[in-house]
Amino acid sequence: MEIVKNMSEYLTDQLCKEHIILKENKELYEYGFQITIANIVNAIIVVSVGILGAAPVSMLLFYFIFVSLRFFCGGYHAKTYSKCFLLFGLTCTVELFAGRWLSNMNIQILAGTLLFAFAGLGFCIYKWAPIEHENKVLSSSERKQFRRCSQAVYIFWVLMAVILILIKQIHYIGYFSAALSLVTIFMIIEKRR
């Protein structure tokens, strides 16, 4: 069932057998393989949804916003890889439809949604970032560092949104708001568990 874990174990065993790595470092390499495989699968999911939904650029924008914020803010994580991929696929689909729906709204509603999304995310970052997971315990210096990073990434996306509006790429604002809202929702779900 857990194909990612099995593949990582298999690859690490091969490295041990060929004496490329030391047995005591096995866990570290399994961890690295799990991250790599999961990132590849997630990238395939985003690209597939983007191509099937005829919105590859918008999904790419979503990918960059989602990835950069989740890295430093944290949020909900599923218990297994199968649930993770299923939920990520669902997240991408929600982003696609919500972004498209919002993009058809008039500029006042779009601006209001964007402001609301930024305010919600800003509040969550201020209150909780970074949200720690039991599988990755952070030291106090890491917590401080990631908190600063999450605030910097947030400011970067605020500036990007302003630039998008200034260059009249209003079409992407709907996708922008949806991506910010999804990151916020995952943060709230994790805090409410």
């Binding site: 690295g32 393989f33 430093f72 970074p130 720690e132 997971h133 599988n135």
Partner: protein, 42 residues
């Protein structure tokens, strides 16, 4: 021999992924793999 070269490349990719993961609070995917305990203490 060729196989060993590929495995070395895979080892490097995995090592880099684990190192890069240290520079962030969480994985962006909806699953957070368990960080190795020995590595966590360092």
């Amino acid at each position: 021999m060729k196989n060993k070269r590929w495995l070395k490349l895979l080892a490097k990719i995995s090592e880099n992924a684990a190192k890069r993961a240290d520079g962030r609070a969480s994985e962006f995917g909806i699953y957070q793999p368990q960080k190795p305990k020995r590595h966590q203490e360092q």
